[in-house]
Homo-oligomer: 298 residues x 2
């Protein structure tokens, strides 16, 4: 378990270092402890040159005597002590041509005397563009596939499908973004196999995102594009507050609010009954990009 | 039931007329129908002179064969046809010195052959200031009390307590606003008594709110006050998307999204780990005003 923790702490550092280099702004780090056990470190950059708000969280919380309701899927968790740790990040750039992105790698383990430990990995990464570009989507999914391929030929398509299904706003009948990878309850073959796969996904986040960021960060934009970004960010808020399991778990668990909500956009707008002009770039987002697609075979 | 519908339609009209007179801007009215039965009329004013976004909805939806899960409190609802109707409004003014407000009057009735109808009224009104003024809170609660007093001496304190408990953000340990009235499942004495009480609350909304609006609408404000308003509006979004039963019912029922989300603020900001200066007007909001208080006896 210490290996997982070390990896996650290093992953947080690597990502913050890379983003700082791009932005020219340092992250502010807040260490915190949780009353029930454990704690974390939240690294946040606000009003940088590239990022309007970037939050990269590490947390490792512990507890004992899990309630029977902790997981319907794992009734044998009841009464165990547990460790839940993870890195979770959301990046909200200023420039509406750079997509918002989210990445998460997490590990859960519950132990009890005289019983095998119960554990699993979860996480993934996904992309939420405001203005869609096919080559960005292809690059994103190709890199995601590269992360998975050494571990089995069906893994990418399985995790991609999970991702399309998970990041979905039922009340809008709309995907949150163009997907990526999503996995949960990963416990197969053996621990090393699972840990290596989780690490591979974690390590492929920067190579998936940075080239897109670099390609789009100088694209000029005006008030219209910024307004569209703020409007679309409303969907991000809706998803995170209504559906996101990590967010809702954090709220129920009594997690550190400022760390949980660092994922929320710096600004989001709701305009009554607004719709983009037909066939505009803005309309293309929902009409074309936010439909599940096999991007890598386009 | 037709009487209730007529009252609600008239209430919507009275409120829109009064607000238009103040703002100098007409509401846009959208009539809509629901696939499962019924429909509504959403009246919305955006970017007016006083209101940044004001939505006053009327809806009357119907259905048959209620699922057994429709209400844990009313298992005898199963298999009945139902009518659910209401007026619901949220006003988001430009000026941060004018509070945001919400009012709702609703009626539910479920019928079945050879059985007594099951019905109840619900609703209330509550106030969410950004900058607190004691005299506004006292006026607000005095008028709320006036609405209830003819119907029983304990009604105001009962509905006020409900309101304090309902409009509460558990994850922030914070009230949404300074309260008002909240009632649900109102079915006591007889239909006329309940209808008259619901009407009295509906009719007292404008006299509760307008004097506060008039008193504060010329107060000068700058970027700092606007930023604080947008920051606090984040709490409004959090409440409506995480807790509000009406919003969540609407989403589950597959209601008209644009009408349901007209309650969301035109702009909301989330700033990581921001806290007001101690003892500032901004700090006073949470430290003093957003604590349950017996405003009318202050």
């Amino acid at each position: 378990m210490k290996d997982v923790e070390n990896y996650l702490i290093q992953l947080q550092k690597n990502i913050c270092d890379a983003l700082t280099k791009i932005d020219g702004t340092a992250f502010r780090a807040d260490n915190w402890t949780h009353a029930k056990g454990g704690g974390g470190k939240s690294c946040v950059l606000q009003n940088g040159h590239v990022f309007e708000k970037a939050g990269v969280n590490f947390s490792h919380v512990t507890g004992d005597n899990l309630p029977a309701t902790a997981s319907a899927q794992h009734p044998d968790l009841a009464g165990r002590t547990f460790d839940a740790m993870g890195v979770s990040l959301v990046l909200h750039p200023h420039n509406p041509y750079i997509p918002t992105t989210h990445c998460n790698i997490r590990f859960f383990m519950a132990t009890k005397e005289n019983a095998d430990p119960i554990w699993w990995f979860g996480g993934g990464f996904d992309l939420t563009p405001y203005y869609g570009f096919e080559d960005d989507c292809v690059h994103w999914h190709q890199t995601a596939k590269k992360a998975c391929d050494p571990f089995g030929k069906d893994i990418y398509s399985h995790y991609k499908k999970n991702c399309d299904e998970y990041f979905y706003l039922k009340h809008r009948n709309e995907m949150r973004g163009i997907g990526g990878l999503f996995f949960d309850d990963l416990n197969e073959k053996n621990f090393d196999h699972c840990f290596d796969l989780a690490k591979s996904i974690g390590d492929h986040f920067l190579p998936s995102y940075i080239p897109i960021l670099e390609k789009r960060k100088e694209t000029p934009y005006g008030e219209k594009e910024k307004a569209f970004q703020c409007y679309r960010r409303g969907r991000y808020v809706e998803f995170n507050l209504i559906y996101d399991r990590g967010t809702l778990f954090g709220l129920q668990f009594g997690g550190r609010i400022e760390s949980i909500f660092v994922s929320l956009p710096p600004q989001a707008n709701w305009i009554y009954n607004w719709h983009p002009e037909p066939n505009s770039q803005e309309a293309l987002l929902t009409d074309y990009f936010l439909k599940p697609k096999e991007w890598i075979t386009l």
